[in-house]
């Protein structure tokens, strides 16, 4: 059945189709990341490695947030 679906599908069309899919996905991710989502949300997410309860190390006099 899958073979039938592809039987008239030209190879160059496949390449173009592949690129189109990629660029659409890429564009979607860009819009999602930079236009739809808020920076504050990402600030919270980027702090995730520090929510585990382990004490943040202080090095060379550096102060933890």
């Amino acid at each position: 059945m899958l073979r039938q679906a592809f039987i008239n599908f030209n190879e160059s069309n496949l390449i173009v189709f592949g690129f189109l899919l990629f660029f659409l996905t890429f564009l979607g991710v860009l819009i999602w990341t930079f236009c739809i989502q808020k920076k504050e949300f990402y600030n919270i997410l980027s702090a995730s490695p520090f929510i585990d309860g382990e004490k943040r190390e202080e090095k060379n006099g550096e102060k933890n947030e």
Binding site: L2, F6, L21, P49, E54
Partner: protein
Amino acid sequence: MNAAQKNLQKNTQKNTQKNTQKNTQKNVAYDDAIVRKFIIATMAWGGVAFFAGLFAALQLVYWPFNTSFEWFSFGRLRPLHTNAAIFAFAGNAIFAGIYHSTQRLLRTRMFSDLLSKIHFWGWQFIIVFAAITLPLGLTQGKEYAELEWPIDILITLVWVVFALNFFGTLARRREKHMYVAIWFYIATVITIAVLHIVNSISIPFSMFKSYTVWAGMQDALVQWWYGHNAVAFFLTTPFLGLMYYYIPKVVNAPIYSYRLSIIHFWALVFIYIWAGPHHLLYTSLPDWAQTLGMVFSVMLWAPSWGGMINGLLTFKGKWSQVRTEPVWKFFIAGLTFYGIATFEGPLLSIKSVSALGHYTEWIIGHVHGGALGWNGFMSFGMIYYLVPKLWNAELHSKKLVEQHFWLGLVGILLYYVSMLIAGVTQGLMWKAVDSNGQLVYPEFIESVVSIMPLYWVRALGGALYIVGFILMIVNIVKTIKAGSVTADTPIANLQSDNVKDGKPRLLEGYATVFTVLSLVAILVGTIIEIYPTLNVHRYVNPEITVKPFSALEQEGRDLYVREGCYVCHSQQIRPLVDEKLRYGDPSTIEESIYDHPYQWGSKRTGPDLARQGQKYPDFWHYQHMKDPRLMQPKSIMPSYEWLVKKNIDYSQIKKKLNVLRNLGVPYTDEQVKNADKDAEAQAKIIADGLKKDGVTEKIEGREILAMIAYLQALGQKGGR
């Protein structure tokens, strides 16, 4: 109450107390024991992988290191080394990191301690089985997928256990939104499952042997779709996940740009899956698929470097501390090697560069830059970070860490630079054509001899890397001895569970949706690439006939696979001037149409063998297999004396031909029915001929006859 009863009561009370404590701890603490187990396994198997690699490197500079034991010949040892490095060393390292970081990022214990234990022990058994079967020559003959069908099934089961445990943990997390490291782990879990299952489909003909269902070009494409993405989704995405977790932890600062990490993830996952065909440039794979693989490989530059830059910039403002924190050096150098490898990979995927670099040592250098630098150094950095925490001790010696780093770094650089120079030298020597249009170096051995000093440098680099690794083992053992394993780390803010806070979730909060989207991202490329394998007959000229191998030749082919000849010899002549001059007409898609598995190879330590048939007499092959130095004094090929001593196993031949017929190889009923007798008859003809040429040893029924039959059939079955 007598003393025995008192004792019993005391023990019962003690056990109940212990169990209650354990159960309470289970609900409030992370499972650190499983992480400790994986760390120890990483260090143990790392030793095996590195020593096997060094031994294999020494076999190339001094052939007697192949010994007269068949189990230690290069063709069998090399798959053991690669499997140990990828699945045992790197595999255990990523599991350690995933189990440690996932629990903390989701603020929950792993879904099931039992599943964690089954995963750990199941994986170790797989490695042990691999370490036993590969030296025995039980291999499917597909790079990084050599393990035979029972082990493949075990890998599938253990991976399912891991997936259940991982997704179960996701389901009971206390953090609503998943951090980017978790995304990379999700991509790893689902993609490896898809890759492994599709590439490993095979039909068994005995307890430990099978034929892959894929053949020739189909097999090559599926294999490199798997092979390249094994690198992508076993050696890259999980390590990137670890990078996004451990670098912020050691630096004590969030990742430089979280937005960049999102772009990095989606672009990488989407693009990587398409890149496999760059391993098959100039082969008989349809041109459009080669171009597709090449272009997507070049596009990989952007997300890969985006990830590397994001990691390195996390150290911004803290570079001065690198001098005093040797563990940081491992992460920084690891990221740098990631950058080098992901710059070089796309470069090598460009067709004109591939024409020079493919089949040469350059590829070996490229692979080891990634494996030793990126995977090795990231693993070491993680181990140095985790061990003091998990065993409650200060790191025994920072000085030893420093020494480990510099020894390792110099080792990798010696390895990488020597192989880069060796590869370019080989490529240029193979291609050199004089003004008369003749090859400047017509003898393949000339290129082997010219790079021999560089093989020594490579071995030295590997040895230095191992010395550094031994220092790490000493350091870690002393740290562990000084420490103590007390209770597991308590889960932070146990009462806070923002999953159920009633506030809206964003995409990062829906694990199932996220997993499905990741699956779709990898399936798009997969389906488009696998497309030609469903339509292979569109690319085959129906007027060109190809005869399948005779029963004895097929038996010889299985011996060729058993001995790992494909590790050093290709069977694919590219349509390039020098290859036509050296080896003959370019290979066609038809020639390998019945090859289960394909044997195109990926490396030429020795010459291509696609047109080897009838080039030399049987006696030449007999002498050459027994001791290659008799025919080529400077050869570095192992001696295959055991082929002259071991008998052909005629008992399996009918079954083999029957399975191959079921897979589409056009054997007649008669050929299958008389396979053993036909094979014996052909072996007798070859043996009689060898006796006439002066062979005095007893060779009747010996494996060497099947091997000669196969070698003489190469390029002689039509298809052109």
